[in-house]
Every structure is written in structure tokens, then in C-alpha cells.
């Protein structure tokens, strides 16, 4: 079997006396979705931070595309092809949607230590940014400042930013949080297509979305993975149902 795109091995993280990541191992393949679910406070976001590089695990290692990245800072991991969206939408509010995506394209298209030519007139960057906006259905809003977009639109923009990075792995922390029913439908459709192109590590509370999208699901409780497997197996796992899923999914 080919080496997975991302491999986290036996990660541990403690904050003071609290163990927030306890012996977590998981893999993400080059295509498809590995979803991490779990109740609030299970340590999902902390896990994402460790994989993204903004937190360093106390023990364990992280391999990305065959290379050890455990000690690399976020910007170096990004250069290797790891794109992330944040639980709380993180865009540059004063930039237009187009400029947000163009900044992402700029990150891997040559040096950014260029001082005189106006970046806004670089056709190559704008074209890629536009293509990314098109993929998420945000072309009409290209010239609107990100700060003036609706919440759902900002979530779409965040995906466009990730796509404009031309990443290999998407690290998505609750991409559906706060989206209305229609926006959720659209985003699920988009993610369904994205998973045919990229490896995705998804943290999400919306169980319908998770079961619609995931190829593998890991259940995190108190920092520990209590179950991991195909969606059908997770759905049927009595321990998981008792601990977490409840009647919602059984219905």
C-alpha cells in the first residue's frame, strides 16, 4: 500500500495537568476525507493546530508527504502543500475576495520580495484567484471586501483561499460552522468534489455532512481516539453510539 499523504503517529499534548491529545495516530490518503468527530472539548481543534503547526506536540511525530514536519512552523508546512481553514473564519477583512485569493496564489508563485510592480495588476495571480473563486461559486463577489461578505460567503472564500494555494492536503476545521441550510448544501456539494482532488482532514459537528463525505471517521473523546473506521462501522459501533452519536444518527 502506498504511503499516506499525512501520517500522525502517537501524538501527545498536555496543557498543565490536562491531557488534550492522548496517543493519537491517524492517516490521510492523497484523496478522500478523514473526518474527526467528538464532543466539545474532545481536543479536535488542538489536534488540527498540531498538524497545522501552530502548536507543537509534546511527543509523537507528524509526517507529511513522506517528510517529517513535527518541528516545522506553520508557514513552512504551508509551503509543502498543507492548506488550512480555521474554525473561526480567517480571511483578510480589508482585502477584496479576489485579493484574498490572489495573496494565496502569490504564496507559491515566485518571490514576494518584489517592491515596485503593483500586485493587483499581475494577470497570472488574478487568473488563478478567479479560478479558485469560481470553484467555490464566489465570482460575483470578487470585488467585495472580505469584511463585507456574509458569514457563509466568508466560509466559501476560505475554501477558495485554500484552493488558490494549490495544496495537497486540506485541513478543514468546522467548515460548515454557522452556515445556513442552503449554504450547507452548497458547501457539502463543493467538498464532495474537492475530496476527489485532495486529501482532506475534516473536523465537523454536522453529522449529516460527516457521514455524507467521510471515507474514514475517527471518534475523539477526551483526547483519545476511541474508534476509527468506515462510516458504516462507526455508525454501528455501540460504544460510539452510546458515548456520542445518540439517537440522532440512528434515526
Amino acid at each position: 500500500m502506498a504511503e499516506p499523504l499525512l501520517r500522525a503517529e502517537r501524538l501527545h499534548k498536555r496543557f498543565g495537568g490536562l491531557t488534550v491529545t492522548n496517543d493519537v495516530s491517524l492517516t490521510v490518503e492523497t484523496r478522500g476525507v478523514h473526518a474527526v468527530i467528538g464532543p466539545n472539548g474532545a481536543g479536535k481543534t488542538t489536534l488540527i493546530h498540531q498538524i497545522g503547526g501552530s502548536l507543537r506536540p509534546d511527543a509523537g511525530r507528524i509526517l507529511f508527504a513522506g517528510q517529517e514536519v513535527t518541528r516545522l512552523p506553520p508557514h513552512r508546512r504551508a509551503r509543502l502543500g498543507l492548506a488550512r481553514s480555521f474554525q473561526i473564519t480567517s480571511v483578510v477583512p480589508g482585502f477584496t475576495a479576489l485579493e484574498n485569493a490572489a495573496l494565496a496564489a502569490q504564496a507559491r508563485a515566485g518571490s514576494s520580495f518584489r517592491f515596485l510592480r503593483p500586485a493587483a495588476s499581475e494577470a497570472g495571480l488574478n487568473r488563478e484567484a478567479m479560478a479558485a473563486l469560481e470553484q467555490v461559486g464566489l465570482v460575483d463577489r470578487a470585488t467585495v471586501p472580505a469584511g463585507a461578505l456574509s458569514h457563509g460567503e466568508r466560509r466559501q472564500l476560505e475554501l477558495a483561499i485554500a484552493l488558490a494555494q494549490r495544496p495537497r492536503l486540506l485541513l478543514l476545521d468546522e467548515p460548515l460552522a454557522g452556515a445556513g441550510p442552503e449554504e450547507t448544501e452548497r458547501l457539502i456539494g463543493l467538498l464532495r468534489w474537492l475530496k476527489t482532488q485532495y486529501g482532506i482532514l475534516l473536523v465537523e459537528h454536522d453529522m449529516q455532512a460527516v457521514f455524507a463525505l467521510a471515507d474514514t471517521i475517527s471518534v475523539l473523546v477526551y483526547g483519545r481516539i476511541v474508534a476509527s473506521g468506515r462510516p458504516e462501522a462507526i455508525r454501528a459501533d455501540p460504544a460510539v453510539r452510546a458515548a456520542y452519536l445518540g439517537e440522532d444518527v440512528a434515526a
Partner: protein, 316 residues
Amino acid sequence: MHFLLREGALPLLLFGLLAAAPFLGFGQGYAMTLLARAMILGMAAIGLSLLVGGAGLVSLGQAAMLGVGAYAVVILDDAGVTDALVVLPVAVGAAMLFALATGAVAVRTSGVHFIMITLAFGQMAFFTASSLAAYGGDDGYTLYARTEVAGRRLLEDRLGFHYVCLGLLAATLLLCRAVLASRFGRVLRAARENPSRVQALGFHPMPYRLTAYVIAGGIGGLAGMLLANATEFVAPSFLAWQRSGDLLFMVILGGLGAPHGALLGALAIVLLEEWLAELTEHWRLIFGPLLILAVLFLRGGLAGLPAQLRAGCSRG
């Protein structure tokens, strides 16, 4: 009147007025000195606005850059070197080196810590200048001639000096605008608004911030070189932290949105100070409240005024 409110009209108007000023009743020695001072401080303020408005770094050390540029003139003058072909690159280069050395430490911090650390470096430079006994120490150093330009005494001439300052001011403004609009400036501005997003994209903000700090330092050095020539006298007071505060105030009063705001702020403060001081010796009692009102009610500073008026017109 409406064309004056158009976007981009303001800097053109400013430069038009400055270019014509010697022929509009500001041709006497005193007025020209005042205008030169305003333009030179405006230049330093434009450099500072690259940091404050562009990078979000509030520096209280810009006067030290001016001081390094000014003392470069003094030290070279003392050594008998008075040609701008040498003095200019040395003044700018020295200020950039000073900015590089101090900035390498300072840009690792942000917010209040950045303010304090730039202030500390500024004070170090101030006390160093005070202790330069060979160059007059606290008493300062008198320049008996202005810097020559390729052997010609261009700067001795009042009009010549005015237009050299104006030309360099325009070049500074155009440079800062270009830098802010470039790829570099885009990363710098994005890192001000959302540093974690910028890192997640693969940029490390620090080298961008340091580079901006060095550019601002070089502009400060240029302004310092000109200021030494304008006053024909250099003293440690050039590096006083109060001057850094003044420059910061010019930037904020003028508006953080665009580099020409800093120029507008510098002109407003230098000229207003002068005008009020003529009216009454208690001018500071008027000056202070005026500045407070301006900061409270002018969103976007003086440079944002046309946009505010535009909005007012279209509403009215």
C-alpha cells in the same frame, strides 16, 4: 469644487501648492525655511507611515533614523567630505544599517513592546549623540556650508533647496505607494490585518516587517541629511523621543490609509504650530484641543476628509 474631492486629487493639489508656494507669497527666507522643514518632516513621516499604516508597527524610534542621517552629514563634514554624491548614500545607508540592526530585535515583538523597544533604541542613539564630544556633544555642531551636489552649491540657493526637497519628497511618496501596492506590500498589509492567515499561506511575517523597517529607516536618514542642511546645525535634540512622537502624531493626524496622509499631517502640524504661535504665546492651549478634536472626528485623518465630504455630498 467637486473635482477637488476626487480620489487622488489631494496629493496632486498638495504638490502643486508646494511647487508654487515660493511665488504665492511664501518666497521670503523665513517662510521658505518653514516650508522646507515641513517637507522634510513630511518625508520622515511618510517613511513612518509605511510602518504604522502599512505594517501595523507603531515605532517611537523614527527620530533616531533622522539623527543617524544628520550625524552622517556632520561626521563627513568634519572629515572634509561635503559632496552629496558621497553624503547622501552614506546618510541613507547608515540609517538603513542602524534600522537593520535595531529592527532585527524590534520586529520580533509587537504592540506595546514594539513601541517600548524602538523608544529604547532611540534613547540609546540620543545619548550616544550627546556623548560625541568631537562633534559638539550636547551643544551640537554647526555646519558652515551646505552639502554640495557634484561640486555645485545647489543647496545654498533658497529656491534650489526648496525644489530638491520637493523632488525628493515626491520620490519618497511614489516609492512608498509602489511598495504598498507591490507583492511585498500586499503581504505586509495582510500580516497587519491577520498574521495567522498569512502564516497559514506560507509567509513568515518577520522578514517583511524587518524590510519595511529598513526602508522607513532609509527614508528617515534621507530626511535627516536634508534637515541638517536646512538648519545648518545638528544637535542631539534631532534624536529626541519627542520628535518621534511628533512624527507619529503627523502620521495619525494625516490618516493611516495612504502615505500622503503623513505629508498632510506634517504640513498641517508645522504650519498650524507656526500660525498659532504668532497669534498668542499660549498657543499650545489651542493647539492641543484642536488636535484632539481632529483625531476624534476625522475618521481616516485629514487624508480621509475628501471621502467623508464625498459621502456627505452624495447623501445631501
